[in-house]
């Protein structure tokens, strides 16, 4: 209770210092927030592209409907497979006509439908990588009722590589931004504590335990970090709205990310306070 009272009193006594500290924290976390929005949208775009990764198993012309159902069942039992959709020869021709309108003359002159029936195999989200796609395609190809299999191997490889490069890049940049934010927060909190180093020494000289001295400062650092985090969330959302309305539509980051950023701000503030106070506690 004393710690909370003291922390609030300290903020009231030097509101400008608190505002400046919180603003520094906010600016540091704002950069992380903008990076978060960019990363999230890249992730979303790649996920949307990945959803198109599928295996198409072309069924032999002489296969009966029961055999197609049996093949569908075999594929659905695979752990990599999320759904299987049967595309009849007629549906295939209809789709081809719709998507390839420039060849309408060619299609209308056909006496016989040359397109085979097929099973479009949709994969589970965790199995849209080259290995899983190749395994499902291989299993389908070996089935006696399957004529051929298509899955765009090169395209899947490139997409997977892009995903890996993206993951590594965002991890490195994310860590770098977070580190810079942590250092800025540490500096902001240290400046605030430096201004009160005499207070820490006086506390020790009148018989306060280290824990007693530390608690209000930790709480103050935590509150400053939280305030900075919330301010950063507001700034990031404002920047998002500007881009969304004036440039191009974007997705807003999930609430868990925002909560994580605010809590990280508080945690950095608390940690920085602990380090800074510890230094001054050693002086008397």
């Amino acid at each position: 209770m004393y710690a909370l009272r003291e922390a609030i009193a300290a903020i009231r006594r030097a509101p400008l210092l608190t505002i400046l500290s919180a603003a520094m924290v906010a600016l540091a976390l704002f950069v992380v927030g903008v990076f978060g929005v960019v990363t999230y949208n890249l992730h979303q775009a790649l996920t949307q592209i990945e959803e198109r990764v599928e295996v198409v198993a072309y069924v032999r012309d002489d296969v009966l409907e029961d055999q197609v159902r049996e093949l569908e069942g075999v594929l659905l039992e695979l752990e990599e497979v999320r759904a299987v959709r049967f595309v009849s020869r007629e549906d295939a021709l209809l789709t081809a006509r719709e998507t390839l309108g420039e060849f309408e003359d060619l299609f209308s002159g056909l006496q016989v439908n040359p397109l085979p029936a097929s099973l479009e195999v949709e994969l589970q989200p965790g199995f849209r990588n080259p290995e899983a796609v190749a395994r499902v395609a291989g299993l389908a190809r070996r089935h006696p009722n399957v004529e051929d299999v298509a899955y765009g191997g090169d395209w899947v490889d490139r997409l997977h590589l892009l995903r890996q490069v993206g993951a590594i890049g965002t991890a490195i940049l994310g860590m770098a931004f977070s580190l810079v934010a942590a250092l800025i927060i540490a500096t902001a909190v240290r400046i605030a504590i430096f201004a009160r180093r005499d207070e820490i020494q006086v506390m020790r000289l009148v018989g306060a335990t280290n824990g007693f001295i530390r608690r209000p400062f930790l709480l103050e650092g935590f509150l400053t970090g939280i305030a900075g985090g919330l301010l950063a969330a507001g700034l990031t959302y404002s920047a998002y709205l500007v881009v969304y309305r004036l440039v191009f539509p974007l997705d807003w980051i999930p609430m868990e990310w925002i909560a994580g950023g605010v809590i990280a701000g508080g945690a950095f503030g608390l940690l920085a306070s602990a380090v800074a106070v510890r230094r001054y506690l050693r002086e008397v």
């Binding site: 004393y2 006594r13 030097a14 005499d198 207070e199 020494q201 006086v202 506390m203 020790r204 000289l205 009148v206 018989g207 306060a208 335990t209 280290n210 007693f212 050693r282 008397v284």
Partner: protein
Amino acid sequence: MIKLTKVTKEFPPRGRALSEVSFHLRKGEFAFLTGHSGSGKTTTLRLVHMADRPTSGEVRACGFSSELTSDREVWKLRRRVGYVFQEFRLLPGRTATENVAFALEVTGAPRRDILSRTHRLLAQVGLSSSSSMPVDELSGGERQRVAIARALVNDPLVVLADEPTGNLDDRATRGIMELFQELHARGTSLLVATHDLELVRRHPEFRVLELDEGRLVYDSGAVEEGAA
């Protein structure tokens, strides 16, 4: 209550502040620590308060030894010792009441006790009317008295005072000395560093320890013991 045994304190590269100083201040004893500026008075008080540690020798205060008390445990000693700092060392931006109450808050005393004892002490040092003023707005003498009230509010076993009357006029000095004498009468040990020889002369009943360039050159207690 306070015992220094061959205490030497060096501050490299400045040199030696105290050289093999030994004295024993008993329970309830009042002693002036005199000497010119730089003679080692403040260093002696800081060593007793364990704000500094001796380079060699041992300091014992209220049962705590400089050799055995870690920095983490030093608060236990400081709650038994009231220290009036030469430069006051008050918390800026806080009122006189808050400054005095603070020394009790750190001990976890009940809020009601804190307020009553704080008001009593401020009244004793003649600061009742200024108790709600920020210490930054008080005069040097008033701040001195706030510092004294803070040192005494814990009912310490020992009071260390570093030039406690340095900023006070004669009347205020007499008031502070009366307060110290009351404490002494109640059995509190006091070690008062001062360069005011007139103040020392006015109180011949108290022991005098004189330092010169870090050496204890005179101890009226030792003289009396020798005579006895």
